[in-house]
């Protein structure tokens, strides 16, 4: 019963604490954001509907977009070459504009494993993967990935052999990165759509590997 508390006060039926209401005062920057937004709308520079539409555009992006790019690179050698030569142009070709940023695709091979991090903030290939996971922005991920990438990878379930070279990419300026994972074995007969289902978000950050047909 919802009000049958006993000693389970403040716990939801699933045993987790209820989230507190956000009854605190707005911070300085929250006030600034509201003021700026209202001024831009009042002066006719934008509209509330346009802002809501942009939020929808951001929310509509997901790792499924990046997965389509990877699956195409796995099946189309010329596209793969274009993606590795100019990631921005190749992803634009598939309708995923990277905007003012530049995209670099880094390829995993038998001997090389790539992993992406942004130690300064949270730079992420949002045009292909949507919003970053919370852990990507954490100090722990950002500081540990550049120093002990193999330990971080083991925590993600990826245990690399010593003869595989790890290449860490720190997005410190105007580039954004996506990992082109190696195509799993046993997928020779799969088409592009089926292959895209194997491509996980983490496999494109480098913290994971693609699924194999046995995982499906």
């Amino acid at each position: 019963m919802p009000h049958d508390h006993h000693d389970h006060d403040h716990l939801s039926p699933s045993g987790h604490p209820y989230r507190a209401d956000n009854d605190t005062q707005l911070s300085y920057w929250q006030c600034m954001e509201i003021a700026m937004r209202e001024l831009l709308i009042a002066k006719g520079e934008t509209t509330a509907a346009e802002i809501a539409r942009q939020v929808d555009v951001m929310d509509a992006r997901s790792p499924a977009d990046g997965a389509k790019v990877v699956a195409r690179a796995w099946t189309d050698p010329e596209f793969r070459a274009r993606l590795l030569a100019d990631g921005s142009a190749a992803s634009r070709e598939m309708g995923y504009d990277v905007g003012p940023m530049n995209l670099i695709a880094v390829e995993n091979t038998q001997g090389i494993h790539n992993i992406i991090v942004c130690t300064l903030c949270s730079c992420y290939p949002r045009n292909l993967l949507g919003l970053p996971p919370t852990w990507y922005k954490s100090r722990a991920y950002r500081s540990r990935t550049v120093k002990t990438p193999r330990a971080v990878l083991r925590e993600f379930g990826v245990d690399l052999a010593q003869d595989v070279t790890v290449r860490v990419h720190d997005s410190t300026a105007d580039m954004r990165y996506i990992v082109l994972p190696a195509r799993p074995q046993g997928t020779e007969t799969m088409d592009e759509t089926a292959l895209a289902a194997l491509v996980t978000r983490d496999s494109m950050i480098g913290t994971g590997l693609p699924l194999t047909p046995a995982d499906l």
Partner: protein
């Protein structure tokens, strides 16, 4: 071969502290981009060459490196790089 300057200027810079003073090789040059040290203060930002520099983990972390031959690539603006004899 290039060495990242070990200067510690105040203000917004995009050269990570952990790479200052470290030696690496230019993996590729990326063209010119507006200087973030100017952009951060509302200025226009002059165009500066940007490079991807590759460091070995041995160079960055010394004895503490997990695997000395693993690498770390970062984007560093040319005005932070000191050319070295190969």
């Amino acid at each position: 071969m290039v060495r990242v300057s070990s200067m510690m200027p105040p203000g917004h810079v995009r050269t990570p502290t952990y790479l200052r003073g470290k030696t690496g090789v230019i993996e590729r040059s990326l063209g010119a981009f507006a200087n973030p040290e100017e952009l951060a203060y509302g200025r226009k930002g002059d165009m500066r060459p940007l490079h991807r520099v590759r460091f070995t983990m041995a160079e960055v972390w010394g004895e503490a490196a997990e695997n000395p031959d693993d690498t770390l690539d970062a984007e560093i603006f040319a005005h932070w790089l000191i050319p070295l004899e190969a």
